[in-house]
């Protein structure tokens, strides 16, 4: 499986809210960030949680979000950020700036 995104790409996190074991935290769903790096390919934790193999492995990235883009009332510096590890199937390309 080849990775869809590369470092620097703008991506947004899908706003889905399933039950089950999800490693995409609630606070960044629907937010836009930039790919910091591809961490590699790993078995899908959502499947591992139920005793299944989680294969094929999925690309997983560190995505950097500016704090001001996550919290409307953030009081810190403009470049303060949160880096979050996210599996590819939660990400879509964010074409607009």
């Amino acid at each position: 499986m080849s990775a869809r995104f590369k470092t620097g790409d703008r991506v947004f996190v899908r706003q889905a809210e399933p039950i089950g074991h999800v490693r995409t935290p609630y606070y960044i769903r629907g937010k836009t960030g930039s790919i910091e790096r591809l961490c590699g390919e790993f078995p899908n934790p959502e499947e591992l949680a139920f005793g299944r193999s989680g294969l094929p492995r999925l690309p997983m990235y560190r995505v950097r979000f500016l704090q001001t883009e996550i919290w409307p009332d953030y009081r810190g510096r403009a470049l303060d950020s949160v880096d979050v590890e996210i599996y590819e199937h939660w990400l879509e390309s964010a074409r607009q700036g």
Partner: protein, 207 residues
């Protein structure tokens, strides 16, 4: 909104004379069953506990001190944390380590909002507060206030980068080497690198 009685973790230690809790009985029962069924041996459990006891932040401090004195090693550490630590003889197991560097304008802080992921092979077991709900919730939202609570006043011109270990990686902060440490041995340097410096809620102090 204050989350009531759920914020404060009940103390983990039990009085020796107190009757066993359901959970302690469960631990005994599961351990006995696993041994009976040949899944694990008592010896394996004992040795695993001993290995865990042997791990402390001194391991991570040694890696930091070496990175401070050897720029090529530092570059390797930042490129591939696991491989670099293994170079120094640190047993890393399945840990996939990412080391993030504090610089002249950036300070890093580590959290696991979803559970308590922590670089145990380098730092030992995490402190209660790291695993607790207050730190996990607030570190991503108001990190500067959290640092203040830890007594660390981050300078105004520093950008603050929080790392949420949500998936397969584990994180350690490489603190900036403080001024006034020229010519120090690695041992002396390692002694000022505390666990909290490598989590990112403190910085090394020259004593």
């Amino acid at each position: 909104m204050h989350d009531g009685h759920h914020d404060h973790e009940p103390a983990g230690k039990r009085d020796h004379d107190a009757p066993l809790t359901d959970y302690q009985r469960m631990e005994i029962a599961v351990r006995e069953l696993l041994i009976e069924k040949g899944v694990v041996t008592a010896d394996e459990i004992r040795r695993t506990v001993e290995a865990m006891d042997a791990r402390s932040p001194a391991i991570g401090a040694r890696v930091v001190a070496h990175a401070w004195t050897d720029p090529a090693f530092k570059a390797r550490l930042l490129a591939n944390g696991t491989a670099a630590c293994e170079e120094l003889g640190v047993e890393m197991g399945p840990t996939k380590l990412v080391v993030v560097e504090n610089t002249a304008d950036t300070h890093n802080m580590i959290v696991c909002t979803l559970c308590s992921c922590y670089p145990r092979m380098l730092l030992g077991l995490p402190p209660d507060w790291y695993k607790g709900r207050a730190y996990r919730a607030r570190a991503v939202r108001e990190p500067r206030r959290v640092l203040k609570e830890f007594g660390f006043n981050i300078p105004d011109n520093f950008n603050l980068r929080v790392h949420d270990s949500t998936a397969d990686m584990r994180y350690m902060v490489l603190p900036a080497r403080p001024a006034g440490t020229d010519g120090w041995s690695e041992e002396r340097l390692a002694a000022i690198v505390t666990r909290d410096c490598m989590i990112g809620v403190a910085v090394p102090k020259v004593q």
